[in-house]
Amino acid sequence: MVGVAILLCLVAAALGVFVKQFSFNPAVLVATSAAPAKSAPAAPSAAGFSALLPAELAEFSVPEKFDADTLSDKIDGKADLYLTAGFVHMRCQRFALKGSAEDWMEWFVYDMANLPQAFSVFSLQRRAEARSLDLTEFAYRTRNALFFVCGRNYIEAVAAAPGDEMMNAMVALARNFVAANPPGEMRLPELDLFPKENLVPDSHVLQIATAFGFDQFKNVFSAKCKTGDADVLAFATVLASPDAANALRDAYHKFLLANGSKEVAAEPVPAGARTVESFDGTEIIFSRGKVVAGVHAAPNIEAAKRVAAAVERQIAAMEK
């Protein structure tokens, strides 16, 4: 009897702890914090980029370095985009054209630990009006900025105002960075899972986590494929084994149905594919070998089938 009572007490205590852990009290962090507000740069010291500077540029600020705990101090709500993609640290520094303090730019180097993760944050932020830049495999410029991947690093150079002189200086700085940090071969084989024909140029995106809101979808590549008048988003991710791919396919199918999608009674394309209609459009998901692939939010079922079939053919060709 006593033993049961003690056990019941322990169970009650465990339940209490379990329930209480969901009662988030962030003020505790404050109570244990020595400095509630920072009035000066809190970033740890960082090596600068002076050795890479072209002749046109001069330092405009001291270098700063931010880690996972402090990144949001610098970029606020965008920090999460980097943190979920495997962010290690970021170094940044402002430079200005010599003799013109009004013409300044900021140089950001995000260490993302590896090439895929660097590509992920690069691809997720690609600007619609990007113009190609002959710098690395993944690089573009806009009117006032340039963005590129160099090995494990994702780099941004953002000028306060557009201008040829500043753009030329930023490109020179970028070339110096690439020369000093040779990235080696920057190849992502998953990009070849999408058919070249009708592919929308530069539309590849890599989502490291929770693609399409599904928490089991990790390292999902996607690309837009033209079919008729529509651009259809195709996706693919490579698993450890065919069994794992089948299980993920079924789990995503179940997730879609649990979130309001309706099963489509039609001949599956490709064979064995699951097809559903969701709030966003038509979803097709299939597995082939170790790959889970499909289309997301297609505008109609015909377009979805055409693109899914093309992706499946491309994956099959890759197997040979």
Binding site: I6, P26, A31, A37, S39, G77
Partner: protein, 330 residues
């Protein structure tokens, strides 16, 4: 292993005695735990008394709103205020005004990541011209506030208009608790600049935001938070709701002259921006944000912080119900 001698010696009386002792031990342990339990939890600072921010809204003015289109933000804000009866409806002679701007980044005005300096100067001048005793401009950018105020152009604009810029330091923060709040409990807030203030105006740009979907007037109060506030990004809609509960402004000004459509809240490229040429002035921050959502190509219903703020009675997401005054300037 059980000692056979224990079994031999155990009778009903011993059992009951042991059970009673165990019960007393458990009860004592539970009692001590209850006695030591701190129901309030640790305070933010043992030496500080929690404060709350004053309510700067004016019930007599009610919920009002104006929307003016035009590319010149100085002209549009003047017209928008005029449409509501003029700045003198909100700021009286002798008032001490605080302008809460968005100076979150050391970013140039051209990138629209921060409140535009021309707008700060225009509003400060209007307040002073109507007889305000003083105008203070503040925000807590966390990282390198001096550079943020300087490079955003806000410091120079404010000072040229006769306003005083308050750059945050540790002494300006006090713990604040919002009644019924889940997150803002004993949290350090940039409250000292509010001392003696009689009117509060929030001035924010319209921006995309990676976590919340949009950064407008309600999200702008985030800049009053100190401490390790990045923890709130995990529950962004709740923190915005609580901020809107904590801060009751006299007026909000939402600058949609240039909207950051993508890659917010920092942006970085001109390609992230779109000329939407709209200025919104309102006593209802929920209504202002609901209209601002449309400039981003979104709806109020798609932004949970707006629907939750409206449900909490902080304003209306149905901005048309306010019959906003509409005008345009060339």
């Amino acid at each position: 292993m059980t000692d056979p001698r224990d079994n031999a010696a155990l009778n009903r009386r011993d059992f009951l005695a042991r059970a009673a002792k165990s019960g007393v031990a458990i009860a004592a342990a539970a009692g001590i735990g209850l006695w030591l339990h701190d129901r309030k939890g640790p305070a933010a600072d043992a030496g500080e008394k929690a404060v709350s921010l004053p309510d700067f809204s004016d019930a007599k003015l009610g919920r009002r709103m104006s929307i003016v289109t035009g590319a010149d933000r100085v002209k549009t804000v003047n017209r928008a205020l005029h449409a509501l009866g003029g700045i003198e409806q909100f700021v009286k002679k002798g008032d001490r005004v605080l302008l809460k701007v968005n100076a979150a980044f050391a970013s140039p005005p051209s990138l629209s990541a921060t409140t535009h300096p021309d707008l700060v100067a225009a509003v400060a001048r209007l307040c002073l011209a109507t007889g305000a005793a003083s105008v203070i401009v503040t925000d807590n950018p966390i990282n390198d506030p001096q550079s943020c105020f300087r490079l955003s152009g806000i410091a120079k604009a404010a000072e040229s208009a006769g306003a005083r810029v308050v750059v945050p330091n540790e002494a300006l923060f006090k713990p604040v608790t919002v009644a019924g709040a889940k997150l803002i409990r004993d949290w350090p807030v940039l409250s000292e600049p509010f001392r003696g203030i009689t009117k509060l105006i929030g001035i924010a740009p319209v921006k995309d935001h990676h976590r919340s979907g949009a950064s407008m007037t309600m999200k702008n109060w985030y800049g009053l938070l100190g401490g390790a506030r990045n923890v709130f990004h995990q529950d962004i809609h709740t923190i915005i709701l609580e901020l809107a509960t904590m801060v009751r402004p006299t007026l909000v000004i939402l600058d949609g002259t240039t909207t950051m459509m993508t890659n917010g809240p920092t942006g970085g490229s001109f390609d992230d921006l779109k000329a939407t040429n709209t200025m919104i002035v309102s006593t209802d921050q929920v209504a202002a944000d609901a209209f601002g959502a449309t400039l981003l190509g979104k709806t109020a219903a798609s932004l949970p912080f707006i629907t939750r703020a409206a449900a909490a009675g902080l304003g209306t997401a149905d901005y048309e119900s306010l019959n906003p005054a509409r005008d345009q300037v060339n």
